[in-house]
């Protein structure tokens, strides 16, 4: 079977209500692909963080745009691809959190990108023809 035939995908509009659709999609796609619960949990959190970022920062406030998610399984790796047509995003603009900082020193925010990297084995971003493409890979 070609890898394409194993991929599941969904098209969404970037509103916070889309998060629920993301979870339903992942639950169904993970079950269809027979992924372990630990992999599903890691994918859920990473997808949540990525989609929340797109909703909040990629498009102008109050102007939702298209968002596409797809999940595939090949060679023992689950690959989640998230594409949007909003603004370019550079992870270098997000400072890494200082996990040893005290409560007073710990800045609020900046954890989403960090959690994605911790939950996934690989996180790759690219931009082509106005499309932001985020590829997240988790070994199962």
């Amino acid at each position: 079977m070609a890898p394409e035939q194993k991929a599941h995908s969904i098209e969404l509009k970037t509103e916070l209500a889309a998060l629920e659709q993301v979870f339903v999609f992942l639950e169904e796609a993970c079950a269809a692909l027979g992924l372990p619960l630990a992999t599903q949990r890691a994918l859920e959190l990473s997808a949540d963080e990525a989609v929340t970022n797109v909703i909040n920062y990629s498009y102008e406030p109050g102007q939702p745009g298209p968002l596409r998610l797809s999940l595939g399984l090949e060679g023992g790796e689950a690959t989640l691809i998230i594409e949007d047509q909003g603004k370019p995003f550079d992870e270098k603009d997000v400072p890494a959190p200082d996990l040893d900082a005290s409560l007073e020193e710990r800045p609020v925010g900046g954890l989403g990108v960090f959690l994605m990297h911790r939950m996934m084995d690989r996180v790759e971003r690219s931009r082509r023809d106005g499309v932001n493409r985020l590829v997240m890979v988790k070994k199962i």
Binding site: E44, E49, L103, E104, L111
Partner: protein
């Protein structure tokens, strides 16, 4: 997410249930803000019914803890499910929050 609130002596117990994500974070933040505005400086958040937390939920907890520290108050969390605790550990939150197993022990921490 469902949010309920009740007073145990001078401690305000806020019980959260469901998914603590970007969609529900606003409501939780609003509830906690109102407790603070009503001079509640001792808050126990019961997380025993929280099945999931993302950075949006962590952000609300951190900002509440900071505000309480600023008024010499105290925030205690209790009842974290294993998966929620795992996210706390990854985010380095277990060292900056007081986390107790259940509400009874949480109330004793004040």
């Amino acid at each position: 997410m469902e949010i309920s609130q009740n007073q145990k002596n001078d401690v305000t117990v806020v019980a959260l249930a469901g998914r603590f994500d970007a969609q529900s974070a606003g409501n939780a933040e609003e509830t906690l803000k109102k407790v603070l505005e009503a001079d509640g400086t001792k808050i126990l958040i019961d997380m025993s019914q929280v099945e999931y937390i993302s950075s949006a939920g962590l952000r609300v907890l951190l900002s509440t803890a900071k505000k309480l520290a600023g008024v010499s108050g105290k925030l205690v969390l209790c009842g974290l499910k294993p998966y929620v605790r795992e996210v706390f550990e990854v985010a380095g939150f277990t060292s900056i929050f007081m986390i107790l197993p259940d509400e009874a022990q949480g109330l004793q921490a004040f």
